[in-house]
């Protein structure tokens, strides 16, 4: 097992350096003068310009510049935002809990509903329920979620007035961010109604972000269950006279979950792509909205290292999924 982890870990290193190369190149491919871009000003005095070029290390040859960049990263220096003069790392860590809270809520929604729908569809294969669920799943999979968000806002927020239009909590509440998770902070604050209000803010974005994962989970669960239900051990369990619920949920589902979890773990990129759009629609103050705003404002340090941080996050999650999969399934562990 250790050698399996070591092998996977060794694969991470070139990927990590590849990503730093990409973010390094990103900032240098921008057309225009790098100093003007970095300073966010035009027509800088030539002497100052040369000084800035030197200070930023941009007068060195490219390989030296890349080594400088890696050196900075190694010291944990991710640069400053041009707009706020805050460090990129600080901004990222402040905003990330909001994205995490939204993603976890979306996963909870997608996971419970998707597993349930997938299992029932597999058990009632060929029924109208099965066809209905699979049809809806295909529609969910094809959903332009930025539009889906607008439609839900139009219906539930504007027409019915059930949920707020945007943000994480009403401005009336003064919540000190201790954990960064609005639900937990609102609960702890003991302000009457704060928790319910935070929950109301969370529901629509979570549904929107969870729609595509929900479709994927329902489809995967159904096909994995169909596969597993054909196995001999399921027939044995049934023959032993175990209750149908026990056979399905304990014996079959446990094995059907393995492929579902793997495919799902690898969907984190899709989830983060979705978070960018969902956060933009609902004005949810997370890292997705932050990056899009940085791109529109040409805040290049944020763009460069924000992308680096998110890529590292994706790699780490995929790595963890790989390891977990190896733990569950010895066949993977012993592959060359």
């Amino acid at each position: 097992m250790l050698s399996f982890i070591a092998r996977r870990l060794a694969l991470l290193i070139p990927t990590f350096f590849g990503i730093t190369l990409l973010t390094f190149a990103l900032i240098r491919l921008i057309p225009g003068d790098p100093v003007e871009v970095m300073m966010g000003e035009r027509k800088i005095d030539p002497v100052l310009h040369a000084q800035a070029l030197h200070r930023l290390g941009l007068d060195k040859p490219l390989p030296a510049q890349y080594l400088d960049y890696i050196g900075q990263l190694a010291q944990g220096d991710l640069g400053q935002s041009l707009r706020t003069r805050e460090s990129v790392w600080h901004e990222f860590t402040t905003l990330f809990p909001a994205t995490l809270e939204l993603s976890l809520a979306a996963l909870l929604f997608a996971g419970t509903l998707g597993l349930l729908a997938g299992v029932i569809a597999a058990l009632k294969r060929g029924s109208w329920f099965d066809h209905g669920v699979m049809g809806l799943a295909l529609a969910g999979y094809s959903m332009p979620i930025f539009w889906w968000g607008l439609i839900l806002i139009m219906f539930f927020s504007v027409n019915l007035g059930w949920t707020p239009v945007n943000g994480r909590i009403d401005l009336l509440y003064d919540i000190t961010p201790t954990s960064g998770f609005m639900l937990i902070d609102a609960w702890r604050s003991e302000e009457p109604g704060a928790f319910v209000d935070a929950l109301k803010h969370l529901i629509l974005p979570a549904i929107v972000l969870g729609t595509i994962p929900l479709a994927v989970i329902a489809r995967m669960t159904r096909s994995a269950m169909l596969e597993v239900l054909r196995e001999d051990y399921v027939r044995t369990a049934r023959a032993k006279g175990l209750s149908p619920a026990r056979v399905v949920f304990v014996h079959a589902l446990r094995n059907a979950l393995i492929p579902v979890l793997t495919v799902f773990g690898l969907q984190i990129g899709t989830l983060l792509s979705g978070a960018v759009l969902t956060e933009t629609i609902f004005a949810w103050p997370g890292v997705g909205k932050w990056l899009i705003e940085a791109i529109s404002a040409r805040d290049y340090p944020v763009v460069q290292n924000g992308i680096l941080l998110i890529a590292c996050l994706v790699i780490l999650v995929n790595f963890t999924v790989d390891i977990l999969y190896g733990l569950v399934n010895p066949r993977i562990r012993h592959q060359g």
């Binding site: 694969l11 070139p14 990927t15 590849g18 990503i19 190369l21 990409l22 990103l26 491919l29 921008i30 057309p31 049809g135 295909l138 529609a139 999979y141 094809s142 959903m143 332009p144 930025f146 539009w147 889906w148 607008l150 439609i151 806002i153 139009m154 504007v158 994927v216 489809r219 995967m220 159904r222 096909s223 994995a224 169909l226 495919v263 990129g269 899709t270 989830l271 983060l272 792509s273 979705g274 960018v276 759009l277 933009t280 990056l291 899009i292 791109i295 529109s296 763009v303 992308i307 998110i310 890529a311 590292c312 994706v314 790699i315 995929n318």
Partner: protein
């Protein structure tokens, strides 16, 4: 003149059906796929003949008819079947012309990522020691970035616009072609027919493109249909974020972006462009499912 075909009459069912016919039979078995194909035919038709079908000029602003509802609602006008937008432009005409753009983006981005993707995949499969690891690590790097974020980053560098949208989407969908081709190639290389062809002295390009590649086509065609639909989605998402095709060009995604402010007053400006995107993407995915069932029976029911 005597008919030259002096072949004795045989029962037609004894012959193998032609591959095309066999394919169509398998494809037509899937009702959803046929429905999807019908809808896409309609969209393609609209896109091809947009200037003749569209009832109005897509950029003509009818100042007296701002936000006219669709014809079946109170206040609807027969001259604007699906209503007008905030500048008084005919929505139906804009959707029809928008179909051109979405299909164009989808098609070009699929082509310009399929070709290098297949080539890189072939190289990685044929040279597993020299080129394979390098190419695959590069693809890992690209896969580590969420696709929309990578596309946004590329557009941020190159600037918004039609061509850059296509480039961004093509780059984003490259890794899946490389991985699929490589996996298929590695599966084929051990087969006897490849060995036979090698022994017969086939050159490397011949082995790659004539011997092996045609046998790897099934998953690639399916993937192409899937990335066609995600290209349309991604292009619309970029347009929605204001980074794609720029107004006043009627792109489905950017139409939604400008409609956001009218969410309380004019549901049709918000609903119809998105519904068009949803239906088109759904139709293509249905076709993709049908193609997969017909071309690659192994993948059937694999979600």
């Amino acid at each position: 003149m005597q008919p030259t075909s002096a072949v004795p009459a045989t029962d037609a069912s004894l012959f193998y059906p032609s591959p095309l016919k066999e394919f169509w039979q398998a494809f037509a078995h899937n009702k959803g796929a046929v429905g999807g194909l019908a809808f896409m035919t309609l969209i393609v038709f609209c896109a091809l003949f947009a200037p003749w079908i569209a009832p109005h000029d897509y950029s003509e602003q009818y100042r007296d008819f701002l936000l006219t509802p669709p014809v079946w609602l109170e206040g609807g006008q027969w001259q604007f079947l699906l209503g007008t937008d905030e500048l008084g432009r005919d929505l139906l005409s804009r959707l029809i012309v928008g179909a051109r753009l979405s299909l164009l983006i989808g098609l070009t981005s699929v082509v310009i990522s399929l070709l290098p993707g297949v080539l890189l995949g072939l190289l990685a499969g044929f040279f597993p020691r020299i080129l394979g690891p390098g190419i695959m690590r590069l693809m890992d790097v690209m896969l580590a970035l969420p696709s929309l974020l990578l596309a946004v980053a590329i557009v941020a560098i190159l600037g918004p616009g039609l061509i850059n949208t296509v480039i961004a989407i093509a780059v984003v969908s490259l890794p899946s072609y490389v991985r699929l081709t490589r996996a298929a190639v590695i599966g084929e290389l051990d087969r006897d027919y490849v060995t036979a062809s090698r022994l017969a002295g086939a050159s490397l390009p011949r082995l790659m493109f004539i011997t092996v590649l045609p046998n790897c086509m099934a998953p690639l065609i399916v993937q192409a249909s899937l990335s066609f639909s995600s290209a349309i989605l991604d292009a619309a998402a970029l347009g929605f974020l204001g980074l794609g095709v720029q107004p006043p060009t009627p792109e489905w995604g950017s139409m939604l972006a400008s409609a956001r402010d009218y969410i309380e007053r004019a549901w049709w400006v918000v609903s119809l462009p998105g519904l068009t995107i949803l239906l088109s993407v759904l139709a293509i995915n249905l076709i993709g499912d049908g193609l997969r069932d017909a071309l690659d029976p192994k993948l059937k029911n694999a979600a």
